[in-house]
């Protein structure tokens, strides 16, 4: 992952999304109006977050199978950038809700589910910080991470569909794809998801490298008998 091409790709896509997102043609719809441009940010951020959390869970499973501490580093840092995206997703959603539903935080099952989801992952970070021993922390938080993802998916994607929600795809509302996802939106929306995922991986990668460098330096100090 040290190669540079995907970082350039990430920057290009993000700029493309920002420029096309604000300037590009969008369908005219009642009530939503121009705020449909938020699809590129809000919806894409949530999808990117889910993908990152899934990746994090995969690395946790890999850690439990192989026991390499690097996998746990990757899992935790990807989860951190996913939480960052989750908070951004909440904020962009809040802006959107303010102008279309008239309330920055309407009492909606999906919103409450999202808040609970973020709480679950904040608890994951708390759990990580309550261990001193590295291997022990890695093992126990990996178990929790897998468990958390399995609960997170029903909270965000299944439970809101059973109840009445303001979001599309819930409580009998049709999903986005079925009525207003025309080709103009698709051209920006799919690259946006990829761009955010790459950005999240980049953020995670920087922190993983810092962690690994620190570990190597610490080990060198211990070897030299200074610590």
């Amino acid at each position: 992952m040290r190669k540079i091409w995907w970082k350039i790709l990430c920057i290009v896509i993000i700029f493309y999304v920002i420029i096309m997102g604000f300037m590009g043609p969008v369908p005219r719809l009642a009530i939503i109006n121009e705020s449909i441009r938020n699809t590129y940010f809000h919806v894409a951020l949530w999808l990117a977050m889910t993908t990152l959390l899934f990746t994090s869970m995969v690395f946790s499973i890999r850690y439990l199978n192989k026991g390499r501490i690097d996998d746990d580093d990757i899992a935790s840092e990807i989860a951190k950038s996913a939480i960052f995206f989750g908070i951004l997703g909440c904020l962009t959603g809040s802006v959107w809700a303010n102008y279309t539903w008239g309330d920055p935080w309407p009492n909606d099952p999906k919103l409450n589910g999202a808040a609970v989801g973020i709480l679950i992952y904040l608890a994951y970070l708390l759990l990580r910080s309550s261990f001193e021993d590295e291997q022990r922390r890695a093992r126990i938080s990996s178990v929790y991470n897998i468990f958390a993802f399995a609960v997170f998916i029903p909270i965000i994607y299944i439970l809101p569909r059973l109840t009445d929600s303001l979001h599309p795809g819930s409580g009998g509302n049709s999903t986005f794809g079925s009525y207003d996802f025309d080709n103009d939106i698709r051209k920006v929306f799919y690259p946006a998801i990829i761009g955010y995922i790459l950005l999240g991986l980049w953020l995670a990668e920087l922190r993983i490298r810092i962690k690994q460098i620190n570990r190597v330096r610490e080990e060198a100090l211990i070897d030299a008998g200074k610590l």
Binding site: L119, R136, R139, P154, I155
Partner: protein, 220 residues
């Protein structure tokens, strides 16, 4: 199977020998219910079925967290090592889940009787409410057993237990409250099939995950 049976029997014997744990939990439920009853004494007419229902499940949630938190922390380190050498981790987690479900069933059953006794019983469909109690006891027990296992490994396990378990248990709690609401209103059972299947599937997912993940937790 035999292993699980022996382990459950061991839990029962242990509980019976140190009666204070179980009687402590019973007293906890009873006194919480009584506190709620006295707090609502000022305005009895404001205790609508919705409030009644929510209050009951919140009492049960706190009881469950307190009762199950001790299922790992009460065992001494040496004894855990002894089990480790004797039986498979799967047998241990399954036996603990079964035993905790049993305890939760007992506590919530008795809790419900006492709650209905002092606060009145607006439930119109008692059969459905019993199913609700059964599903939630097994669900709470299975989620909280694994979380208790995780939390017992850390130092400040009491705080961690609450922080880790509340968000995870929330979907289950919401589903249970909705199902119990249907039972309160005496709606037809066909209305609640959605909730029952969702609860059952969450239970199933959680139990499978505990079964798969506990061996890794156990080793540390």
């Amino acid at each position: 199977m035999n292993e699980i049976k022996t382990l459950i029997w061991k839990e029962v014997t242990l509980e019976w020998r140190q009666k204070y744990a179980l009687s402590g939990m019973l007293l906890y439920v009873v006194s919480t219910v009584f506190v709620c009853y006295l707090s609502f004494n000022l305005r009895r007419n404001q205790l609508t079925p919705i409030v009644w229902n929510t209050l009951f499940w919140i009492i049960l949630l706190f009881t469950a967290v307190n009762a199950i938190a001790k299922s790992f922390s009460q065992e001494r380190h040496g004894r855990l090592l002894y089990y480790y050498s004797l039986c498979s981790p799967q047998a241990i987690i399954i036996s603990k889940i079964i035993y905790n479900s049993f305890i939760m069933l007992l506590l919530s059953g008795l809790g419900f009787i006492f709650y209905a006794f002092v606060m009145g019983n607006p439930v119109q469909d008692n059969g459905l409410f019993m199913i609700c109690i059964l599903l939630s006891s097994t669900g709470f027990a299975s989620v909280l057993t694994l979380i208790a296992g995780i939390a017992s490994k850390a130092d400040n396990s009491a705080t961690l237990m609450a922080v880790l378990s509340f968000p995870i248990i929330l979907p289950m709690l919401l589903m249970t409250i909705r199902l119990a609401k249907n039972a309160l209103d005496g709606l037809d059972w066909s209305v609640s099939t959605d909730e029952i299947t969702t609860l059952l599937s969450i239970d199933l997912i959680v139990i499978t995950l505990s079964y798969l993940l506990f061996p890794y937790l156990w080793r540390s």
